[in-house]
C-alpha cells in the first residue's frame, strides 16, 4: 500500500496541461471530496499523475499539495511515474494463488526483466499484481489493458506477452 515515490523534477519532461485544465474547469467549486475523482480523471488522461498536474490542482482547488501527495501515495491505483503503453495486471487472488499464480509471476519477470510495480525501460509494459480480478473461474488469470487471459500456463503467458 505504501509506495516509495521519488520525485525527480529535473528529469521530468514538460507536461502539456491542457487536458488537466479541461478536467479542472469542471470543478469550479471543488471540495476535498472531489480530489479522488479529479485524480482519477487526470490519471486516465495522462496515464499517470504528472507532478505539474498535482501543482495545478493545488492552485485551482486550494487543497494543500501535502494532502494531495498523501492521497496519491495511499491508493494503489495512482502512479506518479509514467507508465508503459500496456498494463499487465496479474491476479494474485486466492483461487489464482492455489492454481499457480506464483509461477506465472515468475515467468513474467523472466520474460520482461522487471519486478512487480515496475515498467520496462522501453515503456512498453507496466507490470503489477492485483488482489483479485473477481474472475476466479478463469484462474490463474491476468489482464493486459482491458483484456482478460484466463486458465494461464507458463507457456501461454510467454506467448501472450510476445504477441504485444
Amino acid at each position: 500500500m505504501h509506495k516509495n515515490v521519488t520525485l525527480n523534477k529535473e528529469n521530468t519532461p514538460s507536461v502539456d496541461l491542457t487536458k488537466c485544465n479541461t478536467i479542472l474547469s469542471k470543478y469550479s467549486k471543488a471540495t476535498h471530496a472531489d480530489l479522488i475523482p479529479i485524480l482519477q480523471q487526470i490519471q486516465d488522461a495522462y496515464g499517470y499523475l504528472p507532478m505539474a498536474a498535482l501543482e495545478e490542482i493545488t492552485v485551482r482547488t486550494r487543497i494543500p499539495i501535502s494532502k494531495i501527495y498523501g492521497v496519491v501515495t495511499f491508493y494503489s491505483q495512482f502512479s506518479m511515474e509514467p507508465r508503459g503503453r500496456h498494463t499487465i495486471k496479474v491476479c494474485v487472488g486466492t483461487a489464482c494463488h492455489i492454481k499457480g499464480a506464483p509461477d506465472i509471476k515468475k515467468k513474467i519477470t523472466e520474460v520482461l526483466h522487471i519486478n512487480e510495480g515496475e515498467t520496462t525501460s522501453d515503456y512498453k509494459f507496466t507490470y503489477e499484481p492485483v488482489a483479485c480480478l473477481g474472475t476466479c473461474f478463469l484462474a490463474p488469470v491476468m489482464m493486459v489493458d482491458g483484456r482478460y487471459y484466463g486458465k494461464l500456463t507458463i507457456e501461454k503467458t510467454e506467448t501472450i506477452l510476445k504477441s504485444y
Binding site: 479522488i36 482519477q40 491505483q77 492455489i98 519477470t109 519486478n115 474472475t135 476466479c136 484462474a139
Partner: protein, 560 residues
C-alpha cells in the same frame, strides 16, 4: 420516458409493459458480464447479426444479461422458454444454434453441461441449479440490467411503491428487524437495528451508503449483483433511506469493477427519468438523490470508517469507534452503511413480508447467502443457498466435487479475515454462528475449495502477505504484528522455521487480534490460527524437517 406520478402510474406502466410482451418469442439470454472474459460479447454480436441476416426479429430476442451462475462453463447462454442451457459457446457456434436448436428444436450435444460423461441439456436437470434458492439473484441472468423496464416487469420498484403508500418508516424498520436480515458484508449485524440507530440519531442531514468495495480475494458476489441487477440495490437503498429519513445516498464501488460502475450509472439515469430517484418520488414527500464514488484501490476502505474517509477524499484510514457512523459518519452526519447484498435483500422482504423471509434459514441466520465458489472445484461460479445448507451440499452437490483424482482438503471461507474449514466439518449447516465456531467467518461469501495438494502453511502465509500489504499502517499492532507474523510464516515455508515459532505466532496473533484498531488487524490472524488449529502437523513437519523441500516462494514483500 415520463415521470411516474404515483403508485397507480407505476402499476399502469407495468401493465402496459406486460401487454407488449411477446410470449411466443424465443429468448436467448447471454451473460455478457463475467463471461465477457471468454468471448461472450462476440457471441452476443454474432447472434444479433444472425437475427438481422435471417430476419428473425419477430421470432427471436437476444438479451445480454448478468451472471447466470455457472461460470465454469463460460461463456454461457440459456434459451427460453425451453430452458436449454449451453456453455463454452463461441461465435462460430451461433449459426448452428439458430438453425438446429432454435428453428428445429434439436439439442447440440457438445455445448451441453457434462458431468461424468452424462450430458444435461435442460437447466432444470443440472444439479448445480437444483439445490439453489435464488432470492437476491432472482433477476440476475434473467434480465437485461441496462433496461429498467425488465426490472419493473419483474415487480421492480413495487416494494418501494408499497412503503411509500402504505407503510410508515418505523414499520419498515420493524419489518426488516422481524425478517432477521443480518449484514451480508461479513460481520452479520442485524440490519433493522442498524437502521434504527441512524433513524434515532440527531442530524439535519443523514446519509445512506452502499459498500461495494468488495476487496476480499476470491469474492465476486457484489460484483455480480451490481452488474446483473443494479436496480435491486437502488430499490433497497431507497427503502432504507425512506425508513431512516435520508435524502442522499452514495454507492462506493471498487475501481476494478468497470462493468458494475457502467451498469449502475445507466440504472441511476433511468430511475431518474422515471421519477424513481429525485424529488417527490412517486408523488410522495420523499426525495432521494443517489451518486457513485469509485474506490482507488485500497482493501482497508471496505472498513466503514475508512470508507467514509475515502468518500471525503482523504487517505482511507479507519478511526476509533465510537462515535459510530450511525451518529457521526460522512461529514460528521449520521450515516448508515450496508453491503450490496444486504440492500438487494430488502425489496423481497418488503414485498413478500418478513414471515416469508424468516421461514428460510436457521434459528439465528435468516434468508439466503450468495457464495462465490472457486478454487479446486468442478463447477466454479456464483451460488445462492438458504442459510443452513451444509458445506458438503455446496462443494459436492452444487459444485460437483473436486476435479481430477484429488481429495477435498479444506474450504477457505471469509478471505483474509476468515479461516479454513477442514473435511471433518463438511456436514456443518452454514450460518454466522456455526462458521465462527469452527474458526472461520461467513465473511462476504468467498468460498475457495482446496484439494490435498494445497499446503496450508503456504495459504496462511499467502493471506498474511495480503493483510500485511493492505494494512494502512495507522495502528502499531496491525502494522508490526502482520509484518512479524509474515516473517515467521515465510521462514517456516522456506524450511528455516524455529522450534518456538508456533508459540510465537499464536502470541502475536492474540495481540494483533485484541489491540488492532479495525477489522483488518483484528481478523488478520484468523487464517493463521485456523490452520494451526487443524493442520498443526504441516507446520511441525516443515519446522522439524529442515531438509524438506521448501514450498514455492513468491517474491517477498519488504515494506512495513
Amino acid at each position: 420516458m415520463e415521470k411516474l406520478k404515483d403508485h397507480d402510474a407505476l402499476v399502469k406502466y407495468r401493465k402496459s409493459l406486460e401487454s407488449k410482451r411477446r410470449p411466443d418469442m424465443i429468448r436467448v439470454l447471454i451473460c455478457t458480464t463475467g463471461c465477457r472474459a471468454l468471448g461472450a460479447e462476440e457471441v452476443y454480436k454474432a447472434f444479433k447479426l444472425e437475427v438481422e441476416k435471417q430476419s428473425l426479429k419477430d421470432k427471436l430476442e437476444i438479451v445480454d444479461t448478468g451472471c447466470q451462475g455457472l461460470c465454469a462453463r463460460a461463456p454461457v447462454l440459456t434459451i427460453e422458454p425451453m430452458g436449454i442451457f449451453y456453455g463454452r459457446a463461441t461465435e462460430t457456434d451461433v449459426p448452428e444454434i439458430i438453425s438446429r436448436t432454435i428453428l428445429k428444436g434439436e439439442i447440440i450435444e457438445r455445448l451441453c453441461y457434462t458431468d461424468a460423461g452424462k450430458r444435461t441439456p435442460y437447466i432444470r436437470d443440472i444439479p448445480f441449479y437444483g439445490k439453489q434458492k435464488k432470492i437476491v439473484l432472482r433477476n440476475c441472468g434473467n434480465i437485461d440490467p441496462k433496461r429498467i423496464n425488465d426490472y419493473i416487469l419483474r415487480d421492480g420498484y413495487a416494494a418501494l411503491s408499497k412503503v411509500l403508500t402504505t407503510i410508515k418508516p418505523d414499520d419498515v424498520i420493524n419489518e426488516v428487524k422481524n425478517s432477521g436480515l443480518r449484514g451480508r458484508g461479513g460481520a452479520g449485524f442485524p440490519t433493522g437495528n442498524k437502521w434504527e440507530f441512524v433513524k434515532k440519531a440527531v442530524g439535519d442531514v443523514k446519509y445512506i451508503v452502499c459498500n461495494g468495495d468488495e476487496g476480499d480475494p476470491g469474492a465476486f458476489m457484489d460484483r455480480a449483483v451490481l452488474e446483473g441487477d443494479p436496480h435491486s440495490v437502488i430499490e433497497g437503498m431507497l427503502i432504507g433511506a425512506y425508513a431512516i429519513g435520508s435524502s442522499k445516498g452514495i454507492v462506493y464501488v471498487r475501481a476494478e469493477y468497470p462493468i458494475a460502475v457502467e451498469h449502475l450509472k445507466i440504472a441511476i439515469e433511468q430511475a431518474k427519468l422515471l421519477g424513481l430517484l429525485g424529488n417527490n418520488i412517486l408523488g410522495s414527500d420523499f426525495s432521494f438523490d443517489l451518486g457513485i464514488k469509485m474506490g482507488a484501490g485500497a482493501f482497508v476502505c471496505g472498513e466503514e470508517t475508512a470508507l467514509i474517509a475515502s468518500i471525503e477524499g482523504k487517505r482511507g484510514m479507519p478511526r476509533p469507534r465510537p462515535p459510530f457512523p450511525a451518529t457521526s459518519g460522512l461529514w460528521g452526519k449520521p450515516t448508515n452503511i450496508n453491503n450490496v447484498e444486504t440492500f438487494a435483500n430488502v425489496p423481497i422482504i418488503i414485498l413478500k413480508g418478513s414471515a416469508f423471509y424468516k421461514a428460510i434459514g436457521t434459528e439465528t441466520s435468516k434468508g439466503t447467502k450468495i457464495f462465490a465458489l472457486a478454487g479446486n472445484v468442478k463447477n466454479t461460479g456464483l451460488v445462492e443457498v438458504p442459510m443452513g445448507t451444509t458445506l458438503r451440499e455446496i462443494v459436492f452437490d452444487i459444485g460437483g466435487g473436486i476435479p481430477g483424482r484429488k481429495k477435498f482438503k479444506a474450504a477457505q471461507m471469509g478471505g483474509p479475515s476468515g479461516g479454513c474449514v477442514p473435511a471433518q466439518h463438511l456436514d456443518l449447516p452454514i450460518d454466522y454462528e456455526t462458521v465462527k465456531e469452527v474458526g472461520a467467518i461467513m465473511g462476504s461469501g468467498g468460498l475457495i475449495v482446496m484439494d490435498d495438494s494445497t499446503s496450508m502453511v503456504d495459504i496462511a502465509r499467502y493471506f498474511m502477505e495480503f493483510c500485511q500489504d493492505e494494512s494502512c499502517g495507522k495502528c502499531v499492532p496491525c502494522r508490526v504484528g502482520t509484518k512479524r507474523m509474515l516473517d515467521i510464516l515465510t521462514r517456516i515455508t522456506k524450511g528455516q522455521g524455529k522450534k518456538d515459532d508456533i508459540g510465537l505466532l499464536k502470541e502475536l496473533a492474540e495481540v494483533t487480534k485484541t489491540a488492532s484498531l479495525c477489522g483488518l488487524g483484528q481478523t488478520a490472524a484468523n487464517p493463521v490460527l485456523s490452520t494451526i488449529r487443524y493442520y498443526l502437523n504441516e507446520y511441525e513437519e516443515l519446522i522439524n524437517k529442515k531438509d524438506a523441500p521448501s514450498l514455492p516462494q513468491e517474491s517477498q514483500t519488504t515494506q512495513t
